[in-house]
């Protein structure tokens, strides 16, 4: 007979409870990022989920209040790091809108090329990781070769691969090299066959369909109420795309369709992303065609007060030296104003709400981060489903921890 005192004291109600509490994350290998979910599970069915976020919160909005404008571009890299160029462009377009800078058509088209490449790289990760989570590693390893090629193109243009800091206020820091164009041409020539093969691997694969169809489904009405944007909203059947609704960077010059799904489940999200990759390829082709008729030496707007001059001009010309000094020391004042600008990020409407009081850095900068907004629907999406479906649902939402936590 054991003495009563030797028993472990369990919290009130913990034995009578029918469900199990399971901590999914924050460092679970299947969540692909720092996400914690406290799940209540009954057998393998999820009864409820409480997401905890903020593990990699870096206070970018606060840091931005002390930085000159051109130093905020690297902060935006670290939001959605799978498609950093789109964030960079979104930020630069916001500043250009505030300053009223008109960039030349060629810059617009170069930006479109780089944004669409970034969109492909982002969708590629999301779609292939869905394959990994359902047990098909082959597709993931296969398409990585082409993400690598996209990163090489970034490297050729700006010198870095993941956190790109690509572009400057008014254009690009340097012109695209012939090697960059050659690599884009190579990508356009080789990638369609690869994407087609990747699709044959998964799209009509019985196992993949069983694992994704009906998983994490959301109706169009609920998706809108939850503030879904991007592929996740379009999978539910709403054709809202910022590139069409409020064209920026001359997207109105391009001919493309906005793919939509019907059921809003993980399978439709996968299909929408794949269809968008085909559209992106077509947009890049059109942009490459349009570039041929434009002067090849234009890569920035003529805004000397905001755009860093050429190094050789700095050494030989007085004005260039003054502008260089003022920009580098962050002494260039920006016009006061209040602007909201949105771009179609790889996972939704990426918005920048900027208030300038005329100083060297923003008075307030707020990022509208699509991930943060739609992640709150996650408990509703996985309620009543199996634990393994929750993993598939999470990867199909394309959650990026850096963007979620800012």
């Amino acid at each position: 007979m054991l003495d009563q005192k030797q028993h472990i004291k369990l919290p009130e109600g913990s034995i009578e409870k029918d469900t199990t509490t399971l901590n999914l994350g924050p460092t679970h290998p299947a969540t692909h990022g720092v996400f914690q979910n406290i799940l209540e599970i009954d057998g393998e069915r999820i009864v409820s989920a409480v997401p905890t976020v903020g593990y990699i919160h870096r206070a970018f909005e606060k840091i931005a209040e002390r930085r000159p404008y051109y130093q905020i571009t690297p902060l935006t890299d670290r939001l959605n790091y799978c498609s950093a160029p789109i964030n960079n462009m979104g930020w630069l377009l916001t500043v250009e809108k505030l300053l009223g800078i008109e960039v030349p058509k060629r810059v617009d088209y170069l930006r479109v090329i780089i944004m669409e490449l970034a969109r492909i790289a982002d969708h590629l990760i999301c779609s292939s990781v869905m394959g990994v989570d359902t047990g098909a590693l082959t597709g993931f390893v296969y398409v990585m070769t082409y993400r690598e090629l996209i990163y090489e193109i970034y490297e050729e243009i700006c010198g870095s691969r993941l956190t790109t800091n690509i572009g400057r206020i008014g254009g690009f820091e340097r012109n695209f090299t012939p090697t960059a164009f050659a690599k884009i041409e190579r990508f356009l020539a080789e990638y369609p066959a690869v994407l087609k093969e990747f699709e044959t691997l998964l799209t009509r694969n019985r196992i993949f369909m069983e694992r994704t169809q009906g998983v994490g489904a959301i109706s169009a009405e609920r998706a809108l109420s939850y503030g879904f944007t991007g592929p996740n909203l379009r999978a539910a059947g709403v054709d809202y795309d910022v590139r069409v609704a409020n064209p920026y960077s001359s997207y109105q010059d391009f001919d493309f369709t906005v793919p939509v799904g019907t059921t809003g489940d993980s399978y439709d999200r996968f299909l929408v992303r794949n269809a968008e990759m085909w559209e992106s390829i077509s947009i890049i082709r059109q942009a490459m065609e349009k570039l041929k008729s434009l002067p090849a030496d234009v890569y920035h707007a003529d805004v000397p007060a905001y755009y860093l001059p050429d190094k050789k001009d700095v050494y030989t010309k007085m004005e260039a030296l003054i502008y260089h000094f003022k920009i580098v020391m962050g002494e260039t004042d920006i016009l006061p104003g209040e602007v909201y600008n949105a771009v179609e990020g790889a996972n939704g409407e990426l918005g920048f709400y900027l208030i300038s009081d005329g100083g060297r850095s923003p008075y307030r900068l707020h990022f509208r981060r699509p991930c943060f907004i739609y992640y709150q629907a996650y408990p509703e999406l996985i309620k009543g489903s199996m634990l393994s479906d929750a993993i598939v649902c999470m990867s199909s939402l394309n959650l990026i921890a850096g963007e979620l936590d800012a």
Binding site: G54, A59, S225, Y226, G227, A245, V339, G351, Y353, F372
Partner: protein
Amino acid sequence: MSLTNERIQQRLTEKFGDVLSGFEEPFGLLTLTAQKDYNLKVMQFLFDDEELRFRFLTDITAVHYPEKKNEELAVVYHLHNLQDNIRLRLKVFTPVTKPDVFTATSLYESANWMERETYDFFGINFVGHPNLIRVLNVDEMTYFPMRKEYPLEDAMRIDKDDEMFGRGGNI
């Protein structure tokens, strides 16, 4: 596509009159300020009205203006009418001593975390919010870090002399 900023302003002024003020259009985006207690009523009208149909909440955030007495904190809503593709910015000013603003969670599910984030960084107390706790910062935090009284870098730092950089010690 017939809905214009003028039409929205006209409809809102007919309905609310003096409650709304500060109509402007910076970069074509209709911006207006509502009296503090009317934010939810205005949003409810914008949501329900068959002509206005602002049924998509793009963003909620706040701005701190320490020099504006009794209106230190501004809560900023960005609303979107997806059918007519028109946006609207609604602002509500509230004193920092009593930052109570009605919640929009009854209209938009997405308002839940956006308001939690705004509470987390600015301490706006959204009255009626189902679960108003911190979302990105640690729960133990006792202050609201995005307010302007918390400078990013310790201004009393002595290891870095800004006079050497021609800025007279304070940026």
